[in-house]
Structure formats: structure tokens, C-alpha cells
């Protein structure tokens, strides 16, 4: 381990996941694997995402294509939720002007 990153091999050992799973996540751009000198690393900052994908795959049986699609939909849901919050705030503002 070095600094704020995790050795790729350590990552496979800790999470008990197949290399092919992480590789597929990397191929679709869901996880970044850093190559440096002769070592490969995963940034600590990516671990929350990785753990989430591991849950989706191993606990819910969702394949990588499904994870990719879900991730996209979740981003949409979050942005729509914040849009709604913003609109609710604005609506509250305009209603308060009428009082």
C-alpha cells in the first residue's frame, strides 16, 4: 500500500473479487486503475464506488453492463432530485411573497 491508494493485488485479496470483474469495471470506465512503475493501484477515493459495485454484483447479481446503466440512471435520479429540491425552494419563495 502506498499513500492514499491501494495496491491492485491487495484490493483483489481484501474484497475477494475476481480480477476479471474489476477489469470489466475498468473497461467501461467505472473504476480507474493507475499504472505506476511496475505496480497497479486503486485510489482510496474510488473505493466507495468500488464497494458499491461489488455489492451490486455479488449481492444483487447485477452484471457490469447493468452496473454501468444503473450508475447512469442513479446520476440522473440524483440530479433530478436536486432539481426538484431547487424548484420546491423557489416555489416556497414565491408563495412567501404572496403572504
Amino acid at each position: 500500500m502506498s499513500g492514499n491508494r491501494l495496491l491492485y493485488s491487495e484490493c483483489l485479496r481484501i474484497y475477494e473479487v475476481e480480477e476479471s470483474f474489476i477489469e470489466s469495471l475498468r473497461d467501461v470506465g467505472l473504476i480507474h486503475v493507475i499504472d505506476q512503475d511496475d505496480d497497479r493501484f486503486i485510489e482510496y477515493d474510488d473505493l466507495s464506488d468500488l464497494e458499491q459495485f461489488i455489492r451490486w454484483h455479488y449481492e444483487m447479481d447485477i452484471n457490469v453492463a447493468g452496473i454501468d446503466a444503473l450508475r447512469h440512471m442513479l446520476d440522473r435520479v440524483r440530479s433530478l432530485q436536486s432539481e426538484i429540491e431547487r424548484l420546491v425552494g423557489e416555489l416556497r419563495f414565491y408563495k412567501s411573497l404572496q403572504q
Binding site: 473505493l47 466507495s48 455489492r55 442513479l74 429540491e85
Partner: protein
């Protein structure tokens, strides 16, 4: 909960669990407390059905669990434990909850009482994945409008650790910041989770905010509205003197440039303040006043 019959095989249970988990998992239902609760129930059902020992215990006490002596005892223990687990404190009404992954705390009282607090969902049935990074915490921090207009520090107590955070002026309602490393501790040498703080900006009685602009009312008397003059207007940073033009109508709006809310992380820049002028009409007129108003009205009618 799982919708499987009594003789369901382990494989059936696993399938049913996964199918429901895909619908109810908090990962896939952001900000949905109802789904979170249902997912908790799902895990409890799964836990029981996947473990013969627990299954037997549930069959024995399950139906009347609220009345059993064992339940009472366990409840008491659980309450003591939970009071120790109340580690969040601080100013300004913070609430904390976890999202995503689950800890022991996420199980209901019932399961704590049945199986003790060591009960964990990661024992059977669902995949048993190893953890490394600690879970992220979600928190809310309430600020008054006046607090949010100034860059200031707040002391938070997070898991017994005192943390001072700097909140930049102009933070928006619903805005989220991340404090890396202030979540649940990591396991097996892993990094801590992160703490996400969502700011809730409370309404102010005098100033309403829309984006970076502020809105307020100011009352002037009839004579100032009719004849013009000067009035003092409250802004968030003190009073300013304003000139009122003769013949100003009720509810006329004035814009005070740069007297609004500070722009987030853009020091020295501010939105505008919009002032709605309310005209206060004289009440309880004296005889003399009545006479003069009558004269005025006659002049207008001519």
C-alpha cells in the same frame, strides 16, 4: 417479506432476496427512507430464513415477541447500548444517518432483542463481502440565513472527535460538502469513510433569498410616498439611506445593487437586495386631519 413458501430451498431464498434487494437496496433508492426501512426488513427476513438456528428461535418467540420476558430483557440491554451509541452532538441541530452500506445499528429493535446486538446481516444468504473502507455518513447542518452569509467556523463533534469546519459565505440551501475521512472507521487497515454534510438554510423573518438575491419589505408613510423623501432600509449588514421619489406607489420595488447575499466562494461579490415598499396609511385621524384630507379630496375631484 421474501414471498417464499415454508419449504423454499436455500437457492430459492437467495434468488428471492436478490430480486427484492435490486428494488429496495438503499444504493438504488437515494434519499428514500421508506425503501431503507423495507430493505432492513428484507435483510431480517433473509437472515432468519437462511440460518436454521435463528429460524428455530424465530418460530419459538416470533409471534408474540413483544410480550416475552426475553424480549423485555433484551430491549433494556439494547436501549442501554443505543444510548451509548448516541455519539453525535454539536450545535445547530445536526442529524446523522448512514446510507449505502449497513452496520449493526441498521437492524430494528426486534432483531436486536431476538439475536443480540452482534447480529449481522453479513453471515449467510446474501454474499459475504469483505469491508475495507468505512461507510460514509450523511449529516444535515442547519444554519440561519445570517450564519450562511458569513464565512465562519463551526465546531462539530463527530464520534467524539471535535472537528472545526469552515463554512464559506453564500452556502446554498441543500448544498452538500464532503469531509473526507470523517465517516465510519475503516476495517483491516482501510481508510475511513467520508462525511457528507448537507446544509439546510432556515428562513429568515425579514429577508427572503432567491439564489444570490435577497428580498425584503420596507414601510414608508403616506407623506413620504406622496411627496418623496428619505428612508432608512435594513440590509443584512446594517442600514442604508434611500431616496424615495415623489409619487411612489404602494408595492413599488427598489433594487439595491450589491446589497444581497454573498456569492459562494467569490469573495467581495454580492447579489442584489430587492425592497418592496409598503405604504402605511394614517389611522385614527384627528378632526383637523380629517378636514385637511377632505379638502385634498375635493381638490382632486374638481
Amino acid at each position: 417479506m421474501l414471498g417464499v413458501d415454508r419449504n423454499a430451498s436455500a437457492e430459492d431464498i437467495k434468488k428471492a432476496y436478490r430480486k427484492l434487494a435490486r428494488k429496495l437496496h438503499p444504493d438504488l433508492n437515494p434519499n428514500d427512507k421508506e425503501a431503507q426501512k423495507k430493505f432492513q426488513e428484507l435483510n431480517e427476513a433473509n437472515e432468519v430464513l437462511s440460518d436454521p438456528e435463528k429460524r428455530a428461535k424465530y418460530d419459538k418467540y416470533g409471534e408474540n415477541w413483544k410480550h416475552g420476558e426475553e424480549y423485555e430483557k433484551a430491549q433494556q440491554q439494547y436501549r442501554q447500548q443505543s444510548s451509548r451509541q448516541q455519539q453525535w452532538s454539536g450545535q445547530g441541530g445536526q442529524t446523522f444517518y448512514t446510507e449505502g452500506d449497513f452496520s449493526d445499528d441498521d437492524f430494528s429493535d426486534f432483531f436486536h432483542s431476538m439475536f443480540g446486538s452482534g447480529f449481522s446481516r453479513r453471515q449467510s444468504g446474501a454474499g459475504t463481502r469483505n469491508k475495507f473502507k468505512g461507510a460514509d455518513y450523511q449529516a444535515e447542518l442547519r444554519l440561519t440565513l445570517r450564519q450562511a452569509m458569513q464565512t465562519h467556523q463551526q465546531a462539530l463533534s463527530i464520534n467524539g472527535k471535535n472537528v472545526r469546519i469552515t463554512i464559506p459565505a453564500g452556502v446554498a440551501d441543500g448544498q452538500k460538502i464532503k469531509l473526507a475521512g470523517y465517516g465510519q472507521p475503516g476495517v483491516n487497515g482501510g481508510p475511513n469513510g467520508d462525511l457528507y454534510i448537507t446544509f439546510i438554510i432556515e428562513d429568515d423573518p425579514a429577508f427572503k433569498r432567491l439564489g444570490d438575491d435577497l428580498y425584503t419589505d420596507a414601510v414608508i408613510d403616506l407623506y413620504t410616498a406622496v411627496l418623496g423623501g428619505e428612508t432608512m432600509i435594513d440590509t443584512l449588514d446594517g442600514q442604508v439611506k434611500m431616496t424615495i421619489k415623489p409619487g411612489t406607489q404602494p408595492n413599488a420595488k427598489l433594487r439595491l445593487k450589491g446589497k444581497g447575499f454573498p456569492l459562494y466562494k467569490k469573495e467581495g461579490r454580492f447579489g442584489d437586495l430587492y425592497v418592496t415598499l409598503k405604504v402605511h396609511l394614517p389611522e385614527h385621524l384627528s378632526d383637523k386631519e380629517k378636514e385637511l384630507f377632505t379638502q385634498l379630496s375635493k381638490i382632486r375631484k374638481q
